[in-house]
């Protein structure tokens, strides 16, 4: 138990863990986040630094993950930045046009940085959410893998 807590503690202070929870928050939806916030019973007060706004961003890719960079296309992104009373600034960047989702993601990002609430929220919100997402992905991957078709060409007899 001691070990888990220290792992979470160290995670809460790194950029890596912030990336992780911001990603998890972005992949959930507004409804789930609102429910999670209500369950926390914190009712955090916050100000907008940047009220939710919808914009476009260019998604870039590499062919096969290692070729030349190319522009895949633009996607709609909603972002929001808030400052909670403790002074932490949270940012939410989510795909799509859901302003509430972006706002809730920003609030959670701010709360997760706070040493007082952060580890608790990580354990009670982010952890289960990421497990759920992982499970869904695995399920999807299994389903997809079952339909995989291998194409092959018969070796022509050379002699």
């Amino acid at each position: 138990m001691q070990q888990t807590i220290s792992i979470i503690d160290s995670m809460c202070h790194g950029t890596k863990s912030r990336k992780f929870w911001m990603g998890t928050l972005a992949r959930t939806n507004a409804k789930q986040l609102r429910q999670a916030l209500a369950n926390l019973d914190l009712a955090p007060e916050y100000d907008y630094l940047r009220s939710p706004e919808i914009g476009m961003t260019m998604v870039r890719g590499r062919a096969g993950g290692k070729g030349q960079q190319f522009n895949l296309g633009e996607m709609t992104v909603t972002r929001c930045s808030v400052k909670i009373q403790e002074g932490f600034v949270g940012h939410g960047y989510v795909a799509g046009r859901d302003k509430i989702h972006a706002e809730l993601a920003a609030v959670f990002d701010a709360l997760l940085q706070s040493p007082k609430h952060g580890p608790m929220i990580f354990e009670s919100v982010i952890d289960p959410l990421s497990r759920e997402q992982k499970e869904k992905r695995r399920e999807q991957a299994t389903k997809t893998a079952a339909t995989k078709v291998n194409f092959f060409t018969m070796v022509r007899g050379e002699d």
């Binding site: 630094l49 009220s51 706004e53 930045s81 400052k83 002074g87 932490f88 600034v89």
Partner: protein, 199 residues
């Protein structure tokens, strides 16, 4: 901690779309009527070194395509504020800036180092926003030129006395040259390059 620099950021404009339009309108008015003082008011809540009027001008005009120069001694909180809300890259070299903010009008850099535009595109020159203490109309230096009926007089407190000499030189270089916006905490006055100054 570097990561926490953002925690000092204060909010920008409340309704960016509408507020920007109003401020833009006000800036346009002062640019077309040089020497006219326009009250911008407290639109934004910037860090103390940056006046609300200056912040309003920056928030409205500057974006990711317009590099901002704020000088070597620009306080960290001001830089973070402008970078966050405007999205502008901060440049160290004066000649690369599209907009420059001079926080203290009595401590001017060499204004000729800013981008003066070129003959094909004189509009690509820099716009310099200078923070001053007071602006009073009706006495002081005489301004004439396009957009001014007969003449205007303004007296500016907290501005280096050499500024007017430099600005006269700036006018001689027309069509090249800088456009200047003088800002007190709540007001602005524009001095486009067409303004002729008589001390």
């Amino acid at each position: 901690m570097q990561e926490n620099a953002l925690n000092t950021v204060t909010p920008g404009l409340k309704n960016p779309a509408q507020d920007n339009q109003r401020i833009f309108r006000a800036i346009l008015l002062t640019m077309s009527r040089p020497g006219t003082v326009t009250v911008l008011g407290n639109w934004a809540e910037p860090p103390t070194a940056l006046y609300p009027a200056t912040a309003a001008v920056c928030l409205t005009l500057a974006d990711m395509d317009t590099p901002l120069w704020i000088g070597k001694n620009g306080p960290q909180d001001v830089q973070t504020y402008l970078r966050f809300h405007c999205g502008s890259p901060m440049v160290r070299k004066q000649e690369k800036a599209s907009f420059a903010v001079i926080l203290d009008g009595t401590d001017l850099p060499d204004l000729t180092l800013f981008n003066q535009g070129d003959l094909e595109y004189p509009d690509r020159s820099a716009t310099v926003i200078i923070q001053v203490k007071t602006i009073e109309v009706g006495r002081g230096v005489k301004l004439t030129g396009p957009g001014i009926k007969n003449e205007m007089q303004i007296e500016v407190g907290g501005l280096h006395p050499d500024f007017w000499q430099d600005f006269r030189q700036n006018n001689q270089n027309f069509p090249l040259g800088l456009d200047v916006i003088l800002a007190t905490p709540t007001e602005i006055v524009s001095l486009p390059r067409t303004v002729q100054v008589e001390v």
